[in-house]
Protein backbone atom coordinates (compact mmCIF):
# COMPACT_ATOMS: atom_id res chain seq x y z
CA UNK A 1 0.00 0.00 0.00
CA UNK A 2 1.42 3.38 -1.02
CA UNK A 3 1.65 6.32 1.37
CA UNK A 4 -1.08 8.13 -0.57
CA UNK A 5 -3.41 5.15 -0.32
CA UNK A 6 -2.71 4.81 3.36
CA UNK A 7 -3.76 8.42 3.97
CA UNK A 8 -6.83 8.35 1.75
CA UNK A 9 -10.10 8.50 3.69
CA UNK A 10 -12.12 5.29 3.65
CA UNK A 11 -14.86 5.01 1.06
CA UNK A 12 -18.30 5.88 2.41
CA UNK A 13 -19.89 4.61 -0.79
CA UNK A 14 -18.47 1.65 -2.65
CA UNK A 15 -20.11 0.27 -5.78
CA UNK A 16 -18.81 -2.81 -7.54
CA UNK A 17 -19.88 -4.10 -10.95
CA UNK A 18 -23.39 -2.80 -10.37
CA UNK A 19 -25.74 -3.90 -13.13
CA UNK A 20 -29.43 -3.39 -13.76
CA UNK A 21 -31.26 -4.81 -16.70
CA UNK A 22 -34.93 -4.76 -17.61
CA UNK A 23 -35.30 -7.65 -20.00
CA UNK A 24 -32.98 -6.88 -22.88
CA UNK A 25 -32.45 -3.27 -21.82
CA UNK A 26 -29.28 -2.68 -19.86
CA UNK A 27 -29.95 0.41 -17.73
CA UNK A 28 -26.74 0.22 -15.71
CA UNK A 29 -23.80 -1.80 -16.93
CA UNK A 30 -21.14 -3.08 -14.49
CA UNK A 31 -20.73 0.24 -12.74
CA UNK A 32 -17.87 0.51 -10.25
CA UNK A 33 -16.88 3.54 -8.24
CA UNK A 34 -16.26 4.71 -4.73
CA UNK A 35 -16.77 7.99 -2.93
CA UNK A 36 -14.38 8.76 -0.07
CA UNK A 37 -15.81 9.83 3.26
CA UNK A 38 -16.27 13.59 3.63
CA UNK A 39 -16.25 14.36 -0.08
CA UNK A 40 -18.83 15.25 -2.72
CA UNK A 41 -19.07 13.35 -5.98
CA UNK A 42 -21.44 13.70 -8.90
CA UNK A 43 -22.99 11.42 -11.43
CA UNK A 44 -23.36 13.33 -14.67
CA UNK A 45 -25.00 12.27 -17.87
CA UNK A 46 -27.84 12.96 -20.22
CA UNK A 47 -31.37 11.78 -19.76
CA UNK A 48 -31.48 7.99 -19.57
CA UNK A 49 -27.79 7.69 -18.75
CA UNK A 50 -28.58 5.69 -15.62
CA UNK A 51 -28.01 8.28 -12.87
CA UNK A 52 -31.37 7.95 -11.12
CA UNK A 53 -31.28 4.17 -11.56
CA UNK A 54 -27.90 4.11 -9.86
CA UNK A 55 -29.04 6.29 -6.97
CA UNK A 56 -32.16 4.14 -6.56
CA UNK A 57 -29.98 1.07 -6.26
CA UNK A 58 -27.74 2.77 -3.71
CA UNK A 59 -30.84 3.50 -1.63
CA UNK A 60 -32.22 0.01 -2.01
CA UNK A 61 -35.36 1.22 -3.77
CA UNK A 62 -34.27 -0.79 -6.77
CA UNK A 63 -32.64 -4.21 -6.61
CA UNK A 64 -29.67 -4.66 -8.93
CA UNK A 65 -29.45 -7.54 -11.35
CA UNK A 66 -25.83 -8.03 -10.30
CA UNK A 67 -23.09 -6.29 -8.38
CA UNK A 68 -22.61 -4.96 -4.89
CA UNK A 69 -23.29 -1.74 -3.01
CA UNK A 70 -21.69 -0.92 0.30
CA UNK A 71 -22.52 2.26 2.20
CA UNK A 72 -20.72 3.15 5.42
CA UNK A 73 -19.35 -0.37 5.37
CA UNK A 74 -22.82 -1.92 5.24
CA UNK A 75 -23.80 -4.32 2.46
CA UNK A 76 -26.94 -2.62 1.17
CA UNK A 77 -28.29 -5.79 -0.40
CA UNK A 78 -28.18 -7.71 2.86
CA UNK A 79 -28.37 -5.22 5.74
CA UNK A 80 -29.73 -1.96 4.36
CA UNK A 81 -31.65 -1.14 7.54
CA UNK A 82 -28.33 -0.85 9.38
CA UNK A 83 -27.28 1.99 7.06
CA UNK A 84 -30.59 3.75 6.35
CA UNK A 85 -30.73 5.68 9.67
CA UNK A 86 -27.40 7.28 8.72
CA UNK A 87 -28.43 8.14 5.17
CA UNK A 88 -31.02 10.30 3.50
CA UNK A 89 -31.98 11.57 0.08
CA UNK A 90 -34.04 13.99 -1.89
CA UNK A 91 -35.31 13.69 -5.40
CA UNK A 92 -37.70 15.58 -7.63
CA UNK A 93 -39.27 12.21 -8.44
CA UNK A 94 -40.56 11.73 -4.90
CA UNK A 95 -42.87 14.16 -3.12
CA UNK A 96 -43.84 14.76 0.45
CA UNK A 97 -47.58 14.49 1.22
CA UNK A 98 -49.13 17.67 -0.14
CA UNK A 99 -51.94 17.94 2.41
CA UNK A 100 -49.59 17.92 5.35
CA UNK A 101 -47.95 21.18 6.32
CA UNK A 102 -44.20 21.55 5.98
CA UNK A 103 -43.86 21.21 9.77
CA UNK A 104 -46.07 18.11 9.91
CA UNK A 105 -44.10 16.44 7.13
CA UNK A 106 -40.83 17.12 8.87
CA UNK A 107 -42.24 15.95 12.21
CA UNK A 108 -43.33 12.62 10.71
CA UNK A 109 -39.92 11.99 9.18
CA UNK A 110 -38.08 13.22 12.26
CA UNK A 111 -39.91 10.54 14.23
CA UNK A 112 -39.34 7.91 11.56
CA UNK A 113 -35.62 8.62 11.85
CA UNK A 114 -35.87 8.46 15.64
CA UNK A 115 -34.64 12.00 16.36
CA UNK A 116 -34.25 12.73 20.06
CA UNK A 117 -35.40 16.37 19.81
CA UNK A 118 -37.44 16.64 16.63
CA UNK A 119 -38.90 20.09 17.31
CA UNK A 120 -35.51 21.61 17.89
CA UNK A 121 -33.96 20.09 14.76
CA UNK A 122 -36.95 21.11 12.64
CA UNK A 123 -36.74 24.68 13.93
CA UNK A 124 -33.03 24.76 13.19
CA UNK A 125 -33.50 23.51 9.62
CA UNK A 126 -36.42 25.85 9.01
CA UNK A 127 -34.21 28.72 10.03
CA UNK A 128 -31.17 27.62 8.04
CA UNK A 129 -33.11 26.80 4.86
CA UNK A 130 -35.36 29.85 5.10
CA UNK A 131 -38.52 27.83 5.59
CA UNK A 132 -39.85 29.48 8.74
CA UNK A 133 -42.44 31.70 7.06
CA UNK A 134 -44.39 28.84 5.53
CA UNK A 135 -43.85 25.96 7.94
CA UNK A 136 -47.57 25.76 8.69
CA UNK A 137 -48.76 25.90 5.10
CA UNK A 138 -49.76 22.68 3.29
CA UNK A 139 -46.79 21.44 1.31
CA UNK A 140 -48.90 21.29 -1.83
CA UNK A 141 -49.37 25.06 -1.78
CA UNK A 142 -45.64 25.81 -1.72
CA UNK A 143 -43.79 27.02 -4.78
CA UNK A 144 -41.45 24.63 -6.57
CA UNK A 145 -38.44 26.29 -4.98
CA UNK A 146 -39.95 26.13 -1.50
CA UNK A 147 -40.76 22.46 -2.02
CA UNK A 148 -37.18 21.79 -3.07
CA UNK A 149 -35.93 23.40 0.14
CA UNK A 150 -38.46 21.42 2.17
CA UNK A 151 -37.27 18.19 0.53
CA UNK A 152 -33.71 19.17 1.40
CA UNK A 153 -34.75 19.85 5.00
CA UNK A 154 -36.27 16.37 5.15
CA UNK A 155 -33.03 14.95 3.71
CA UNK A 156 -30.99 16.68 6.41
CA UNK A 157 -33.26 15.90 9.39
CA UNK A 158 -31.21 13.00 10.71
CA UNK A 159 -27.89 14.75 9.99
CA UNK A 160 -26.98 11.95 7.61
CA UNK A 161 -23.44 10.74 7.10
CA UNK A 162 -24.31 9.94 3.49
CA UNK A 163 -26.57 12.19 1.48
CA UNK A 164 -27.86 11.23 -1.96
CA UNK A 165 -29.28 14.15 -3.88
CA UNK A 166 -30.99 14.00 -7.22
CA UNK A 167 -31.09 17.51 -8.74
CA UNK A 168 -30.73 19.21 -5.33
CA UNK A 169 -31.14 22.78 -6.56
CA UNK A 170 -33.73 22.21 -9.28
CA UNK A 171 -36.35 24.97 -9.34
CA UNK A 172 -34.31 27.32 -7.17
CA UNK A 173 -33.55 30.86 -8.27
CA UNK A 174 -29.81 31.63 -8.66
CA UNK A 175 -29.56 33.40 -5.31
CA UNK A 176 -31.28 30.62 -3.33
CA UNK A 177 -29.43 27.96 -5.31
CA UNK A 178 -26.14 29.59 -4.41
CA UNK A 179 -27.07 29.73 -0.73
CA UNK A 180 -28.09 26.07 -0.73
CA UNK A 181 -24.82 25.09 -2.35
CA UNK A 182 -22.93 27.01 0.35
CA UNK A 183 -25.06 25.30 2.98
CA UNK A 184 -24.30 21.85 1.56
CA UNK A 185 -20.58 22.63 1.43
CA UNK A 186 -20.61 23.75 5.05
CA UNK A 187 -22.66 20.72 6.08
CA UNK A 188 -20.23 18.34 4.38
CA UNK A 189 -17.20 20.00 5.92
CA UNK A 190 -18.51 20.30 9.46
CA UNK A 191 -20.10 16.84 9.62
CA UNK A 192 -17.54 15.13 7.40
CA UNK A 193 -20.54 13.94 5.43
CA UNK A 194 -20.36 12.24 2.05
CA UNK A 195 -22.57 13.59 -0.70
CA UNK A 196 -23.38 11.96 -4.01
CA UNK A 197 -25.47 14.03 -6.35
CA UNK A 198 -26.95 13.70 -9.77
CA UNK A 199 -27.30 17.02 -11.49
CA UNK A 200 -27.56 18.76 -14.81
CA UNK A 201 -26.22 21.96 -13.31
CA UNK A 202 -22.57 21.92 -14.34
CA UNK A 203 -21.65 25.04 -12.39
CA UNK A 204 -23.03 23.39 -9.28
CA UNK A 205 -21.02 20.24 -9.91
CA UNK A 206 -17.84 22.20 -10.58
CA UNK A 207 -18.25 24.05 -7.33
CA UNK A 208 -19.32 21.23 -5.02
CA UNK A 209 -17.64 18.12 -6.28
CA UNK A 210 -14.15 16.79 -6.02
CA UNK A 211 -15.01 13.89 -8.29
CA UNK A 212 -17.26 13.60 -11.29
CA UNK A 213 -18.37 10.42 -13.00
CA UNK A 214 -19.61 10.93 -16.53
CA UNK A 215 -22.27 8.41 -17.45
CA UNK A 216 -23.62 7.35 -20.79
CA UNK A 217 -25.86 4.39 -21.57
CA UNK A 218 -25.50 2.99 -18.08
CA UNK A 219 -21.72 3.13 -17.94
CA UNK A 220 -19.09 5.49 -16.57
CA UNK A 221 -17.36 6.73 -19.68
CA UNK A 222 -14.95 9.04 -17.89
CA UNK A 223 -14.23 10.28 -14.42
CA UNK A 224 -11.96 12.61 -12.52
CA UNK A 225 -12.02 15.94 -10.75
CA UNK A 226 -13.76 18.75 -12.63
CA UNK A 227 -10.38 20.36 -13.32
CA UNK A 228 -8.93 17.09 -14.63
CA UNK A 229 -11.84 16.53 -16.96
CA UNK A 230 -11.75 20.09 -18.27
CA UNK A 231 -8.03 19.76 -18.93
CA UNK A 232 -8.36 16.30 -20.47
CA UNK A 233 -10.97 17.41 -22.95
CA UNK A 234 -9.32 20.78 -23.58
CA UNK A 235 -12.51 22.66 -22.79
CA UNK A 236 -13.33 25.85 -20.94
CA UNK A 237 -15.71 24.38 -18.43
CA UNK A 238 -17.52 21.23 -17.35
CA UNK A 239 -20.56 22.02 -19.44
CA UNK A 240 -18.45 21.85 -22.60
CA UNK A 241 -16.99 18.55 -21.40
CA UNK A 242 -20.50 17.24 -20.83
CA UNK A 243 -21.55 18.27 -24.34
CA UNK A 244 -18.40 16.76 -25.77
CA UNK A 245 -19.12 13.40 -24.17
CA UNK A 246 -22.84 13.48 -24.96
CA UNK A 247 -22.20 14.29 -28.63
CA UNK A 248 -19.58 11.59 -29.08
CA UNK A 249 -22.44 9.19 -28.70
CA UNK A 250 -23.79 10.48 -31.97
CA UNK A 251 -20.44 10.47 -33.77
CA UNK A 252 -19.67 6.97 -32.54
CA UNK A 253 -16.54 7.83 -30.59
CA UNK A 254 -16.32 5.20 -27.92
CA UNK A 255 -13.51 6.53 -25.80
CA UNK A 256 -14.21 5.22 -22.37
CA UNK A 257 -12.18 5.35 -19.23
CA UNK A 258 -11.84 2.25 -17.18
CA UNK A 259 -14.77 2.26 -14.83
Amino acid sequence: MSAVEAEAPPAAIRVSKLTKSYGDVLAVNRLSFSVPEGTTAALLGGNGAGKTTTISMLLGLLLPTAGRVSILGVDMLKRRYDALPRMNFSSPYVDLPKRLSARENLMVYARLYGLRRPGRRIGQLADELDLTAFMDRPSGTLSAGQRTRLALAKALLNEPDVLLLDEPTASLDPDTGDRIRSYLEAYRDTRRATILLASHNMAEVERLCSRVMMMRAGRIVDQGSPAELIRRYGRANLEDVFLDIARRRRTGDTREAAA
Partner: protein, 278 residues
Amino acid sequence: MSAADARVAGTRGPIASWRRLQAMVLRYVYLYRGSWPRLLELTYWPTLQMVMWGFLTIFLASKSGFFVQAGGVLIAAVLLWDVLFRSSLGVSLSFLEEMWSRNLGHIFVSPLRPGEFIAALTLMSLLRVLIGIIPAALLAIWLYEYSIFDMGLPLIAFFTNLQVMGWSFGLIVCGLLMRYGLGAESIAWFAIFAIAPFSAIYYPLTVMPDWLQWIAGILPSTHVFEGMRAVLVEKTFRTDLLFNAVALNAAYLTVSVAVFLRFFRSARERGLILQIGE
Protein backbone atom coordinates in the same frame (compact mmCIF):
# COMPACT_ATOMS: atom_id res chain seq x y z
CA MET B 1 -21.80 5.79 21.34
CA SER B 2 -21.30 7.07 17.79
CA ALA B 3 -22.29 10.57 16.68
CA ALA B 4 -25.20 9.10 14.76
CA ASP B 5 -26.44 7.25 17.86
CA ALA B 6 -26.32 10.51 19.83
CA ARG B 7 -28.55 12.26 17.29
CA VAL B 8 -31.15 9.56 17.06
CA ALA B 9 -32.84 7.48 19.69
CA GLY B 10 -31.64 4.13 18.36
CA THR B 11 -33.07 2.29 15.41
CA ARG B 12 -33.35 -1.26 16.67
CA GLY B 13 -35.60 -3.01 19.12
CA PRO B 14 -39.26 -2.82 19.99
CA ILE B 15 -39.10 0.76 21.31
CA ALA B 16 -37.61 2.01 18.05
CA SER B 17 -40.22 0.06 16.13
CA TRP B 18 -42.99 1.54 18.27
CA ARG B 19 -41.66 5.05 17.62
CA ARG B 20 -41.72 4.49 13.88
CA LEU B 21 -45.19 3.02 14.13
CA GLN B 22 -46.30 6.13 16.02
CA ALA B 23 -44.71 8.29 13.33
CA MET B 24 -46.78 6.64 10.63
CA VAL B 25 -49.97 6.91 12.67
CA LEU B 26 -49.16 10.58 13.26
CA ARG B 27 -48.82 10.99 9.48
CA TYR B 28 -52.41 9.75 8.99
CA VAL B 29 -53.75 11.70 11.96
CA TYR B 30 -52.34 14.88 10.39
CA LEU B 31 -53.99 13.91 7.12
CA TYR B 32 -57.43 13.30 8.61
CA ARG B 33 -57.22 16.31 10.90
CA GLY B 34 -56.81 18.55 7.90
CA SER B 35 -59.39 16.92 5.64
CA TRP B 36 -63.05 16.92 6.68
CA PRO B 37 -64.19 14.97 3.56
CA ARG B 38 -61.96 12.10 4.64
CA LEU B 39 -63.42 12.18 8.15
CA LEU B 40 -66.95 12.29 6.77
CA GLU B 41 -66.24 9.32 4.52
CA LEU B 42 -65.26 7.26 7.56
CA THR B 43 -68.69 7.51 9.18
CA TYR B 44 -70.98 8.18 6.22
CA TRP B 45 -71.47 4.68 4.74
CA PRO B 46 -71.67 2.68 7.96
CA THR B 47 -74.32 5.05 9.30
CA LEU B 48 -76.27 5.17 6.04
CA GLN B 49 -76.26 1.39 5.70
CA MET B 50 -77.33 0.87 9.29
CA VAL B 51 -80.25 3.31 8.94
CA MET B 52 -81.48 1.67 5.75
CA TRP B 53 -81.24 -1.91 7.03
CA GLY B 54 -82.65 -0.88 10.39
CA PHE B 55 -85.89 0.26 8.81
CA LEU B 56 -85.98 -2.91 6.74
CA THR B 57 -85.63 -4.90 9.97
CA ILE B 58 -88.55 -3.05 11.52
CA PHE B 59 -90.67 -3.80 8.46
CA LEU B 60 -89.71 -7.49 8.37
CA ALA B 61 -90.26 -7.86 12.10
CA SER B 62 -93.88 -6.85 11.58
CA LYS B 63 -94.32 -9.56 8.92
CA SER B 64 -92.13 -12.43 10.05
CA GLY B 65 -91.87 -14.39 13.27
CA PHE B 66 -88.18 -15.09 12.60
CA PHE B 67 -87.26 -11.42 12.75
CA VAL B 68 -89.39 -10.91 15.84
CA GLN B 69 -87.47 -13.73 17.52
CA ALA B 70 -84.06 -12.66 16.28
CA GLY B 71 -84.38 -8.95 16.61
CA GLY B 72 -81.46 -7.01 15.25
CA VAL B 73 -79.96 -9.87 13.25
CA LEU B 74 -79.90 -7.75 10.10
CA ILE B 75 -78.54 -4.67 11.85
CA ALA B 76 -75.81 -6.76 13.48
CA ALA B 77 -74.98 -8.33 10.10
CA VAL B 78 -74.77 -4.92 8.46
CA LEU B 79 -72.51 -3.54 11.16
CA LEU B 80 -70.23 -6.58 11.23
CA TRP B 81 -70.00 -6.71 7.45
CA ASP B 82 -68.93 -3.09 7.56
CA VAL B 83 -66.19 -4.02 10.03
CA LEU B 84 -64.80 -6.41 7.42
CA PHE B 85 -65.22 -3.99 4.52
CA ARG B 86 -63.81 -1.00 6.43
CA SER B 87 -60.92 -3.03 7.77
CA SER B 88 -59.84 -4.04 4.27
CA LEU B 89 -60.41 -0.54 2.94
CA GLY B 90 -58.57 0.98 5.90
CA VAL B 91 -55.38 -0.85 4.97
CA SER B 92 -55.56 -0.23 1.25
CA LEU B 93 -56.66 3.42 1.50
CA SER B 94 -53.81 4.29 3.86
CA PHE B 95 -51.47 2.71 1.34
CA LEU B 96 -53.18 4.53 -1.51
CA GLU B 97 -52.65 7.84 0.33
CA GLU B 98 -48.90 7.21 0.03
CA MET B 99 -49.25 6.40 -3.65
CA TRP B 100 -51.40 9.45 -4.38
CA SER B 101 -48.89 11.68 -2.65
CA ARG B 102 -45.88 9.98 -4.33
CA ASN B 103 -44.41 9.48 -0.89
CA LEU B 104 -43.51 5.79 -1.01
CA GLY B 105 -39.93 6.51 -2.06
CA HIS B 106 -39.32 8.54 1.08
CA ILE B 107 -40.98 5.95 3.28
CA PHE B 108 -39.05 3.03 1.90
CA VAL B 109 -35.65 4.72 2.31
CA SER B 110 -36.42 5.70 5.89
CA PRO B 111 -35.58 3.23 8.68
CA LEU B 112 -39.22 2.07 8.64
CA ARG B 113 -39.14 -1.65 7.99
CA PRO B 114 -41.82 -3.37 5.85
CA GLY B 115 -43.18 -5.17 8.91
CA GLU B 116 -43.56 -1.85 10.72
CA PHE B 117 -45.27 -0.36 7.70
CA ILE B 118 -47.71 -3.29 7.68
CA ALA B 119 -48.31 -2.78 11.40
CA ALA B 120 -49.00 0.93 10.81
CA LEU B 121 -51.46 0.15 8.02
CA THR B 122 -53.32 -2.35 10.20
CA LEU B 123 -53.39 -0.02 13.19
CA MET B 124 -54.80 2.76 11.02
CA SER B 125 -57.36 0.31 9.68
CA LEU B 126 -58.48 -0.48 13.24
CA LEU B 127 -58.79 3.23 14.06
CA ARG B 128 -60.75 3.88 10.88
CA VAL B 129 -63.14 1.01 11.64
CA LEU B 130 -63.74 2.20 15.20
CA ILE B 131 -64.35 5.77 14.03
CA GLY B 132 -66.78 4.53 11.38
CA ILE B 133 -68.65 1.81 13.25
CA ILE B 134 -69.06 3.14 16.78
CA PRO B 135 -71.24 6.12 15.79
CA ALA B 136 -73.40 3.85 13.63
CA ALA B 137 -73.76 1.32 16.47
CA LEU B 138 -74.73 4.07 18.92
CA LEU B 139 -77.22 5.47 16.43
CA ALA B 140 -78.83 2.02 16.17
CA ILE B 141 -79.50 2.10 19.91
CA TRP B 142 -81.19 5.47 19.60
CA LEU B 143 -83.16 4.74 16.41
CA TYR B 144 -84.12 1.07 16.84
CA GLU B 145 -83.49 0.33 20.48
CA TYR B 146 -81.06 -2.32 19.30
CA SER B 147 -77.60 -2.51 20.85
CA ILE B 148 -75.04 -4.69 19.14
CA PHE B 149 -73.06 -4.42 22.39
CA ASP B 150 -75.68 -6.68 24.02
CA MET B 151 -73.94 -9.57 22.29
CA GLY B 152 -71.26 -9.19 24.94
CA LEU B 153 -67.91 -11.00 24.70
CA PRO B 154 -68.77 -12.86 21.47
CA LEU B 155 -68.92 -9.48 19.77
CA ILE B 156 -65.23 -8.98 20.54
CA ALA B 157 -64.46 -12.35 18.97
CA PHE B 158 -66.53 -11.55 15.85
CA PHE B 159 -65.07 -8.05 15.54
CA THR B 160 -61.49 -9.24 15.92
CA ASN B 161 -61.86 -12.00 13.34
CA LEU B 162 -63.47 -9.73 10.77
CA GLN B 163 -60.88 -7.03 11.42
CA VAL B 164 -58.03 -9.48 10.85
CA MET B 165 -59.66 -10.89 7.74
CA GLY B 166 -60.01 -7.35 6.40
CA TRP B 167 -56.31 -6.75 7.02
CA SER B 168 -55.47 -9.84 4.97
CA PHE B 169 -57.52 -8.67 2.01
CA GLY B 170 -56.17 -5.13 2.36
CA LEU B 171 -52.55 -6.28 2.38
CA ILE B 172 -53.06 -8.35 -0.76
CA VAL B 173 -54.64 -5.32 -2.43
CA CYS B 174 -51.60 -3.24 -1.38
CA GLY B 175 -49.37 -5.83 -2.98
CA LEU B 176 -51.35 -5.62 -6.21
CA LEU B 177 -51.16 -1.82 -6.07
CA MET B 178 -47.38 -1.98 -5.73
CA ARG B 179 -47.15 -4.34 -8.67
CA TYR B 180 -49.74 -2.80 -10.99
CA GLY B 181 -49.79 0.82 -9.79
CA LEU B 182 -52.78 3.10 -9.56
CA GLY B 183 -54.39 1.28 -12.48
CA ALA B 184 -55.38 -1.32 -9.88
CA GLU B 185 -56.86 1.28 -7.53
CA SER B 186 -60.45 0.20 -8.01
CA ILE B 187 -59.56 -3.27 -6.66
CA ALA B 188 -59.31 -1.65 -3.24
CA TRP B 189 -63.01 -0.81 -3.41
CA PHE B 190 -64.51 -3.94 -4.92
CA ALA B 191 -62.19 -6.81 -3.87
CA ILE B 192 -63.93 -7.59 -0.62
CA PHE B 193 -67.39 -7.58 -2.24
CA ALA B 194 -66.38 -10.68 -4.21
CA ILE B 195 -66.73 -12.74 -1.04
CA ALA B 196 -69.93 -11.11 0.20
CA PRO B 197 -72.35 -13.59 -1.44
CA PHE B 198 -70.44 -16.56 0.05
CA SER B 199 -69.98 -15.19 3.56
CA ALA B 200 -73.53 -15.97 4.73
CA ILE B 201 -73.89 -12.42 5.97
CA TYR B 202 -77.68 -12.04 5.78
CA TYR B 203 -78.73 -15.68 5.31
CA PRO B 204 -77.61 -18.99 6.80
CA LEU B 205 -75.01 -21.18 5.15
CA THR B 206 -77.59 -23.92 4.56
CA VAL B 207 -79.34 -21.73 1.99
CA MET B 208 -76.44 -22.27 -0.40
CA PRO B 209 -75.97 -25.35 -2.60
CA ASP B 210 -73.54 -27.93 -1.21
CA TRP B 211 -70.63 -27.07 -3.50
CA LEU B 212 -70.97 -23.40 -2.60
CA GLN B 213 -71.05 -24.25 1.09
CA TRP B 214 -67.59 -25.76 0.66
CA ILE B 215 -66.30 -22.48 -0.79
CA ALA B 216 -68.05 -20.51 1.93
CA GLY B 217 -66.43 -22.75 4.53
CA ILE B 218 -62.94 -21.60 3.67
CA LEU B 219 -63.85 -17.99 4.42
CA PRO B 220 -63.37 -16.90 8.06
CA SER B 221 -66.24 -14.45 7.60
CA THR B 222 -68.73 -17.29 7.03
CA HIS B 223 -67.94 -18.78 10.44
CA VAL B 224 -68.25 -15.37 12.06
CA PHE B 225 -71.69 -14.66 10.59
CA GLU B 226 -72.88 -18.18 11.38
CA GLY B 227 -71.64 -17.64 14.92
CA MET B 228 -73.39 -14.29 15.09
CA ARG B 229 -76.71 -15.88 14.14
CA ALA B 230 -76.16 -18.65 16.71
CA VAL B 231 -75.75 -16.00 19.40
CA LEU B 232 -78.71 -13.89 18.29
CA VAL B 233 -81.16 -16.65 17.30
CA GLU B 234 -80.17 -19.71 19.34
CA LYS B 235 -78.59 -17.75 22.20
CA THR B 236 -75.52 -20.01 22.09
CA PHE B 237 -71.88 -19.20 21.46
CA ARG B 238 -70.38 -21.74 19.04
CA THR B 239 -66.71 -22.21 19.94
CA ASP B 240 -66.25 -24.57 16.98
CA LEU B 241 -67.11 -21.72 14.60
CA LEU B 242 -64.77 -19.39 16.46
CA PHE B 243 -61.95 -21.91 16.23
CA ASN B 244 -62.53 -22.29 12.47
CA ALA B 245 -62.46 -18.53 11.97
CA VAL B 246 -59.29 -18.06 14.02
CA ALA B 247 -57.46 -20.90 12.26
CA LEU B 248 -58.46 -19.65 8.81
CA ASN B 249 -57.53 -16.08 9.72
CA ALA B 250 -54.09 -17.19 10.89
CA ALA B 251 -53.54 -18.79 7.51
CA TYR B 252 -54.97 -15.81 5.60
CA LEU B 253 -52.83 -13.32 7.49
CA THR B 254 -49.67 -15.34 6.98
CA VAL B 255 -50.32 -15.65 3.26
CA SER B 256 -51.25 -11.97 2.88
CA VAL B 257 -48.07 -10.75 4.63
CA ALA B 258 -46.04 -13.07 2.41
CA VAL B 259 -47.85 -11.74 -0.67
CA PHE B 260 -47.26 -8.12 0.41
CA LEU B 261 -43.54 -8.76 0.95
CA ARG B 262 -43.26 -10.64 -2.34
CA PHE B 263 -44.87 -7.80 -4.28
CA PHE B 264 -42.68 -5.30 -2.41
CA ARG B 265 -39.63 -7.20 -3.57
CA SER B 266 -41.05 -7.42 -7.07
CA ALA B 267 -41.61 -3.64 -7.08
CA ARG B 268 -37.98 -3.16 -6.03
CA GLU B 269 -36.81 -5.49 -8.77
CA ARG B 270 -38.84 -3.73 -11.41
CA GLY B 271 -38.08 -0.21 -10.26
CA LEU B 272 -41.74 0.56 -9.65
CA ILE B 273 -41.52 2.39 -6.34
CA LEU B 274 -40.23 5.67 -7.75
CA GLN B 275 -42.67 5.47 -10.65
CA ILE B 276 -45.75 5.13 -8.48
CA GLY B 277 -47.68 8.36 -8.39
CA GLU B 278 -50.80 10.29 -9.11
